[in-house]
Symmetry: C2
DNA sequence: GTCTATAACGAGATAGAC
DNA sequence: GTCTATCTCGTTATAGAC
């Protein structure tokens, strides 16, 4: 009986994985907007009503794919980071940025799913938040370490930004000063500007040798958040 | 006879505009992937085959919408720029960035069309290039002026980037040195990272008071491309 | 010449009866 | 779970109105 239950659980996991794999293939072919439970079922030789035992709606399947994508990206970034965990913060920052870029280039359709245009009619539930936050939290960790080691330069914030900056700091990293969290969040968004332009083809005929270009830009982003070599202290 | 031709030409322009307006409405509702000639025709009280007198295919209609969006954005940026044409390059830079952001927030679906996920099965023809380049060329102009006035700081490029940097410089702005064109292109991409995160909702619960945040970030981008106040010369 | 309407194709999705 | 009747779609051929 426990073996039967185990077998059933195993089967359920396998079918769930097969559904998501097929859904990812259709994502790549037709885009998230056209993802259809029926088409997935047909391709798997199932009937559409059977899919509802695994995903109660198309939106739930989409949510699962989105969470998987964020986790896959987060894992790629975290494992790249752990390989250089003892290096200078600036090098760790660049390693994480490069890992995010590599993942995006290897999974362009999943990248489009999480950082591209919103899917019409779909609203991401709160469930997606923890997975979505992984890369951001990693970048915060790196800057936090540099800040402890004083290897971080602070920036002057405009007066109109001080209230919001304090709120962001309290929300995201209470141990980091507002003058650090603002450029950090900006760099986070800018990183995905660089990655998105490459993945979505905006760099075609503009930037050709993209790896060194990206490394240079990621280094500038590190500088923007105050990460300087090796722990040489802060400079304005 | 010439009046007849004029009336026909006018009618053609009006119908073309009506088709594009309706297509834009459907774009906002269902996304570019689901844009359908038949649905547009139905909503306009025409028959689908009649649309082919105006757009030879669905992709041609999409292309027209894309070019219009780029031109609308380009116009917004250029008119914002001409209002501050005599200010310091740094202020002109920030004005153009702010205009691009405002346009994107006011036209989120058209922004998604040109800077979001690619439309599955659609490849943008070369026709779109001139319109797509307008904001970029404006940013180049601003940096060029600052460079003439020596108000631009050069950055050290990594050795691995020198060849590509020279190619980019020759291609995009032969009168600007590679050490300027690289951060300029990077800042261009990063600008759309900031805008995209706001338009696509990635800043929800992260950045709330977004206007001052954006201005701060745009100012940092200006700094990154070497624009400093007023023409106080170059610093590393 | 310029346009619109009718009809049809082949492909795919969908709803409901069974 | 299967089958069928009825939708949608992009696109083309054709015929006729202005």
């Amino acid at each position: 009986m426990s073996t039967a239950r185990g077998a059933r659980a195993r089967a359920r996991i396998e079918v769930t994985a097969a559904i998501k794999d097929e859904a990812r293939r259709q994502l790549a072919a037709d885009g998230a907007a056209k993802l259809s439970l029926r088409a997935v079922a047909r391709e798997l030789g199932m009937v559409s009503s059977a899919l509802y035992r695994y995903f109660p709606s198309r939106d739930d399947l989409l949510t699962a794919l989105i969470i998987d994508a964020y986790n896959s990206l987060g894992e790629a970034a975290e494992s790249a980071h752990s390989a250089v965990a003892d290096d200078a913060p600036r090098d760790r920052w660049i390693a994480v940025c490069a890992a995010a870029r590599r993942w995006a280039l290897e999974h362009p359709h999943e990248y489009a799913l999480i950082y591209g245009s919103p899917v019409p009619g779909y609203v991401a539930p709160q469930e997606t938040v923890p997975a979505a936050a992984r890369v951001g939290l990693l970048l915060i960790d790196i800057v936090r370490d540099a800040h402890r080691g004083k290897g971080v330069a602070r920036i002057k914030l405009s007066a109109e930004l001080t209230v919001e900056a304090r709120r962001m700091s309290a929300d995201l990293a209470p141990d980091l000063p507002p003058e650090v969290i603002v450029p950090l969040v900006a760099a986070w968004a800018q990183l995905y500007g660089l990655i998105g332009f490459e993945v979505f083809g905006q760099f075609n005929r503009v930037v050709e040798d993209r790896e060194p270009f990206f490394r240079q830009a990621a280094g500038r982003l590190a500088h923007e958040v105050g990460l300087v070599y090796p722990e040489q202290g802060a400079t304005a």
